[in-house]
């Protein structure tokens, strides 16, 4: 959970293939996440970023490839793979969704504790203590008893992050955590993510906020058409991309009109 | 089916006057009560149907039928949907309090029908504590109740016999004529008549309470039919004997 030797590999993804019907979305994806590293996954719409991220958490079952955590679990996918077997990946990672997907019928506190209490079956006192601390940490100490619908988008997304953190994962997965937010609320969520990165959490972050990626990510993985086109240190890939496709993409986002 | 475009108004003139004027006597009947009132193909027929047709002939009017369910038959009479009911309406004090009846054109007895192998039901007294299936339509619902039986209300003969044969009831009290007719068309030796009532049941044409003129006209017609043997002829046709007296 907490930062350790940054050189140690935490997650190795190799040869991920995934098709939806005839549409080949992932055509062999490889990348590595080291402990304490922030990897930003960027690329044009439809390039397969979301699909790749979901494969890491067993929400999508690749047709082939492996997802291996240091110290296990290590899952090799192939035809006929039983989706249930991918569940073990969720022991190490936790997902924060674009649309937060909080449980509307549970209070904020119940939202973030339902996993640890009912699934992980950890002691109640410990879970409550952790929840209180984390909610305070993201500035929501007074919202514990509120229901998600009464929160602003930015607050909901911060609860979503706490819900993921409560599971004590080794790797956090973010799929465009601010793209569904009101422009003014983007900042408050990015600040939280930036702090987590600075504390040494390992994360894979799909984002369109290039300025943020440049600021926070250690490594940028640029995907296009289901393959990894370019990988490298964030400052280099975003400031001086090598591949023409990367160049065009970065250009388009920085100067839209 | 019935076309049902004929309705009688209750305002002003009495029913007889109106029937005379329009030349049509409208009759409510079930159309599903064999052998009294039923449909053979698309033709409504049966003992009651033929009797009331003959009555109409004597009165010099055309007879028109409205087929309806028992549940609605008195409501239909009350609402003026038809002038009379010809559907084996048994005459009893409760009914006489509310409606007017012609003189009876069927005199029948109630019978207890049981399975052939039943030996412990031999009389109406022995119905006490037994289970019987009775149509709400008939007078025998009360008869069976009075005899101390537990009564399961049913829709008609077919259902009652099914319950009897499935062993769900011990007996059904019904019209002897119905039993005989059923045995004639669908011989079935698994059921039998276990006992016959001593008193007779009269069935007659029912009409609204204030239609005494109509009652008179119908009684006249029935008298004529009796006198010229027509009534007995119809009865012979359906039952092989004269049940009209």
């Amino acid at each position: 959970m907490s930062p350790s030797n940054p050189a140690a590999s935490l997650l190795a993804v190799a040869g991920l293939h995934k098709s939806f019907g005839a549409n080949q979305v992932l055509k062999g994806i490889d990348f590595t996440v080291h402990a304490g590293e922030v990897v930003a996954l960027i690329g044009p719409s439809g390039s397969g970023k979301t699909t790749a991220l979901r494969c890491l958490n067993g929400l999508e079952i690749p047709d082939a490839g492996t997802v291996a955590f240091a110290g296990g679990p290590e899952v090799s996918f192939s035809a006929g793979f039983k989706p249930k077997k991918a569940q073990i990946l969720r022991q190490r990672s936790a997902m924060v969704f674009q649309g937060h997907h909080l449980f509307p019928h549970l209070s904020v506190l119940q939202n973030v504790t339902v996993g640890p209490l009912e699934v992980q079956k950890r002691p109640r006192a410990e879970v409550m203590e952790q929840a209180t601390a984390l909610l305070a940490r993201v500035g929501l100490a007074d919202k514990a008893q509120a229901y998600p619908n009464s929160l602003s988008g930015g607050q909901q997304q911060r609860v979503g992050i706490v819900r993921a953190l409560m599971l004590k994962p080794d790797l956090l997965l973010f799929d465009e955590p601010t793209s569904a937010l009101d422009p003014e609320l983007v900042g408050e969520v990015l600040v939280v993510i930036k702090e987590l990165a600075q504390e040494g959490w390992s994360m894979v972050l799909v984002t369109h906020e290039l300025a943020f990626a440049r600021d926070v990510a250690d490594t940028v993985v640029f995907m296009d058409g289901g393959v990894v086109v370019e990988t490298g240190p964030a400052s280099q890939v975003l400031a001086a991309p090598q591949n023409p496709r990367t160049q065009a993409f970065v250009q388009r986002l920085l100067h839209p009109f | 089916g019935s076309s049902g475009d004929n309705t009688t108004s209750t305002e002003g003139k009495d029913a007889l006057q109106q029937i005379k004027e329009s030349g049509v006597l409208t009759v409510g009947t079930e159309g599903t009560y064999r052998p009294f009132s039923y449909n053979e193909g698309s033709e409504l027929t049966g003992y009651d149907v033929e009797v009331i047709k003959a009555v109409g002939e004597k009165m010099g009017v055309e007879v028109k039928f409205q087929q309806t369910q028992w549940d609605a038959i008195f409501a239909g009479l009350d609402a003026g949907r038809f002038d009379v009911i010809a559907n084996q309406v048994a005459v009893n004090p409760e009914r006489e309090a509310k409606y007017l009846f012609s003189e009876p054109y069927t005199v029948s007895t109630g019978v207890i029908v049981t399975k052939s192998d039943n030996t412990d039901i031999t009389s109406f007294e022995s119905l006490k504590g037994k289970k019987t299936a009775q149509s709400l339509t008939s007078n025998y619902y009360e008869t069976a109740k009075a005899a101390g039986a537990t009564v399961e209300p049913v829709e008609g003969w077919a259902q009652a016999v099914t319950l009897l044969k499935q062993g769900r009831v011990d007996a059904t009290v019904n019209d002897k004529l119905t039993f005989l007719d059923a045995q004639k068309t669908h011989p079935d030796d698994s059921i039998k008549i276990a006992a016959e009532a001593t008193e007779k049941t009269d069935s007659a044409v029912a009409m609204r309470k204030d239609e005494t003129a109509l009652q008179g006209a119908i009684n006249d017609a029935l008298d004529q039919l009796r006198a010229d043997g027509e009534l007995a002829k119809i009865s012979e046709k359906y039952f092989g004997e004269d049940v009209s007296k």
Binding site: - | S2, G4, S9, S42, A75, D78, R81, G156, W157, H186
Partner: protein, 221 residues
């Protein structure tokens, strides 16, 4: 068994004929009128006027709260005592239409409300009036949501027409009863009737599916 088979074949045509000449037309006509009533009630419910909305509420509650049989009785046997005598077929159509109107009002209301408010505003913005927006923009989209529950209601209505025999309309179930009265084979007859209903219902379901498919593109995504 053999004679059962014969009876089945013999009764199939009369029953089907009764379905075609009575049950189905009765259901179709009543459903068409009922939908108009339902639309009116649904619009009253969402009109924002308290009076109109309350009238619609009471209407819906009476229709849903009392048995269809009683509604038939009241119109056919009760009205004459108020001096209004209505023939069987008109009575049946009135009652089934009003009944359909009550049940479907809530369905249409929900369907209309399911169309995003932005669609009303988009209609206004291209210059349409409220009524025009309703017919041109909202109802076509509401249809997609309304079709499955409306088809439920229609299937129920087809079966409910069997109650019309109580007011002298000779529909299919009545026909089955007439045949039963002669043959005493009520199980067989009723099952034949049920089979015919089922065929009608399957046809309706197929129609529903194809309608749903065609309306699919009408749904905002």
């Amino acid at each position: 068994m053999d004679s059962n088979w014969q009876l089945f074949l013999d009764s199939l045509w009369p029953l089907a004929q009764a379905a075609i000449t009575a049950s189905i037309p009765l259901a179709v006509i009543s459903f068409a009128i009922g939908l108009a009533v339902a639309l009116l009630m649904a619009l009253m419910r969402i009109s924002g006027s308290r009076v109109l909305s309350s009238i619609a509420r009471v209407y819906i509650s009476i229709i849903r709260g009392t048995p269809l049989l009683v509604q038939l009785f009241v119109i056919f046997y009760g009205m004459p005592s108020l001096g209004l005598t209505i023939d069987p077929w008109p009575s049946a159509i009135i009652v089934f239409s009003l009944n359909t109107g009550g049940y479907c009002a809530e369905i249409l209301r929900a369907a209309i409300l399911s169309v995003p408010a932005g669609q009303w505003e988009a209609g206004y913005t291209v210059g349409m009036s409220r009524t025009r927006t309703l017919y041109r923009i909202i109802l076509p989209q509401a249809a997609r949501v309304a079709v499955p529950p409306l088809s439920n209601s229609f299937i129920s209505l087809v079966k409910d027409t069997s109650l019309a025999s109580i007011i002298l309309v000779g529909e299919m179930f009545r026909k089955a009863q007439e045949i039963t009265a002669v043959t005493f084979e009520f199980m067989l007859l009723y099952c034949t009737a049920a089979g015919i209903y089922w065929v009608i219902c399957l046809l309706l379901s197929a129609l529903q599916n194809s309608l749903e498919g065609r309306l699919e593109k009408y749904v905002a995504k």
